[in-house]
Amino acid sequence: MPATKEFTYELERGFLPGHRACAGCGQATAVRLVMEVAGPNVVVTNATGCLEVFSTPHPESAWGVPWVHSLFENASAVAAGLEAALKHKGKLDEIRVLAFGGDGATLDIGFGPLSGVLERGHDVAYFCMDNEAYMNTGVQRSGSTPFGAATTTSPAGRRSFGEDRPKKDLPAIAAAHGIPYVATASMSIVADLRRKTKKALDTRGPKYVQIHVPCPPGWGYDEKDTVDIGRMAVDCGLYPLVEWENGEVVRVRKIKPIPVEEYLKPQRRFRHLFRSDAGKEQIAKIQELAQANIEKYGLAD
């Protein structure tokens, strides 16, 4: 029966269709890609956030693999507990432990637990789904919100151009733990994301992969443009795709840089920057941030 075959295929895929993500959700696509690579022999922990909410409204679940959600800040620590349990049972060679958290769960409230998991050497692959604000609660500013972006708690106003700090550089902080593998990726650059996921899952010890996942309602762009928006973030230099092994940069994805305006302009969160000369000065600062990335990692060499 074809339906049965289809169902089996979906189960093997791990992350099933029918969940409640918004149209054009970058995160949903990224998770599907990661789970396709990860295969069935995994256990997954998930921080509170969009992914958890849209994939598991009880009694429904979009997960075809064992999955546990506990709290906002402890997906990494719960993953460490699962890893310890698998080690105790002698099953750690056959089963991979994955953790998913948004940027708020990862960079902000779960930063301590994540650092503990990386430092202690747990065999856990942590995937941070970076959509650059607290989207599940209504687009509030996180430590990952980029300079110049308006959110509901860092709004543009008569005295504000939105967020006034650059993104917290968690990939570099993760790499500073000296762990075997750290990578940044984009849901828009699929082959690269697949390769990095496979590399993470083939590596023993702690792994941190931060995936840029555009968010149509949070960033304010047309749902059909998710892939293009994500690609432009990489191509302008604001989201450098970098790999670290044991604390050292080992590979970067080269770009032919485009101006940051091309990436910023289609997004509602940056539109205030285009309305005044003072706003254009802010855009110039954003271009400097991109340029600094390009030079630091040799993205355009």
Binding site: V43, P59, V68, K89, R120
Partner: protein, 389 residues
């Protein structure tokens, strides 16, 4: 085997005999001796467990949560501020119906900072869905851990258990205990056999969110099963007596209560002090009994009614205070006795906060003030230290 050891060592050895697969803890005084002893037992290979040295109590509880979800028996210990930091996870563990045993070493809450004993910390978690057992001495706390795993993992319960022991008074005191053998404990406590575990061979989703159409039913089930757990606590105490020959009560333990005019109710190590004091008062003709509340959650309402309804007076020794109300235990005991025939007055005597020794003098003061009709009061206050109000 009978031996003279520190209370913390007794707990560590008892936990080891329960064969946890994962231990995770964060050091905090006065829990430290327990986790140091366990670390050594793991380091020497006497316990086959993964010991996860986390960066906070929040993560210690989270690691245990993950381990039990993965089908492995787990253990942690903490106290006071650490317990509060765990609190979010502890509610979560109970709601997810994961059996787990944590030692709740009793210590005062800051501020002012105090590392010394009272019971404010664990009582703050009375509504969390955790079973709460309170031990009087080293032997009881040792035995209680073995019983707690059996109760918590029972299919009729599936709720976590906090085994409470007074900081320093029990953790740092040497007493003679009878330590069971591994064979005896193995026969009493079978390996953890979870109903559900996170296994790729049979995937399931744990920790989904619930909307208003079903949240209340899930909470009702926790309440229903927590109340029903009282029968399991009693059953396990009987089974334990049959296997090990020791009985220290099940949900309560009455001491000279049959003819008592005044019954003191308390939890933890102060019960021992109360028993000695009651003996002395009896020599002078005072008919005083002591009721040890051993199982605080589930709350043994029927047993308290039965034990207390014949008394002239009940005095609840409170090592905590519900600030802005008064006693925590006494409020619940008053509620339990409300509307019963021959209801005695229930006095709330707060004392022993922040490590203040509960002396016979303080107990005498309590007795006098209760006899004089004072209902809610602090006993053993140093009036000269109080600022003018």
């Amino acid at each position: 085997m009978r031996k003279m050891i520190e209370g913390s060592r007794a707990v560590a050895e008892a936990v080891g005999l329960c064969r946890p697969g994962v231990i995770s803890a964060y050091p905090i005084t006065p829990q430290t001796h327990i986790v140091e002893e366990l670390s050594q037992l793991v380091a020497d290979g006497d316990i086959e467990a993964e010991y996860v040295r986390v960066e906070s109590e929040h993560s210690a509880a989270s690691v245990c949560l993950g381990a039990v979800a993965g089908g492995v028996r787990a253990y942690s210990a903490t106290t006071s501020q650490g317990l509060m930091l765990m609190a979010e996870v502890l509610y979560n563990i109970a709601g997810m119906r994961l059996p787990l045993v944590i030692t709740g070493v009793n210590r005062a809450m800051s501020a002012p900072l105090s590392i010394w004993n009272d019971q404010q910390d664990t009582l703050a978690l009375r509504d969390s869905g955790w079973l709460q057992l309170y031990a009087e001495n080293s032997q009881e706390v040792l035995d209680m851990h073995i019983q707690a795993y059996k109760i918590s993992e029972d299919d009729r319960v599936l709720l976590p258990a906090l085994v409470c022991m007074d900081g320093f008074i029990l953790t740092h005191t040497y007493e003679t205990v009878d330590m069971p053998t591994q064979e005896e404990v193995d026969a009493f406590l079978p390996p953890y056999n979870p109903l559900y575990e996170l296994d790729p061979k049979d995937p399931y989703t744990l920790g989904a969110f619930a909307g208003p159409e079903m949240y209340q039913e899930m909470r009702y089930e926790i309440q229903r099963d927590a109340l029903a757990a009282k029968a399991v606590v009693k059953e396990v105490a009987k089974d334990f007596q049959a296997a090990f020959g020791r009985w220290m009560g099940d949900v309560v333990e009455p001491y000279q209560c049959d003819d008592a005019e005044t019954i003191y109710v308390a939890m933890g190590s102060v019960v021992g002090t109360l028993k000695d004091w009651a003996d002395i008062r009896r020599e002078r003709g005072g008919k005083i009994g002591v009721l040890k509340l051993r199982c605080y959650r589930p709350f043994p309402q029927d047993e308290l009614r039965e034990a207390l309804s014949g008394a002239k007076r009940v005095v609840v020794l409170e090592k905590a205070v519900s600030v802005g109300a008064y006693g925590i235990l006494s409020a619940e005991i008053r509620a339990a006795l409300y509307g019963q025939p021959n209801t005695p007055p229930v006095h709330a005597a707060v004392t022993g906060l922040g490590g203040r020794d509960v002396t016979f003098e303080i107990l005498d003061e309590m007795q006098e003030r209760a006899q004089a009709g004072e209902m809610d009061f602090f006993a053993g206050l140093r009036e000269e230290l109080l600022e003018a109000s």
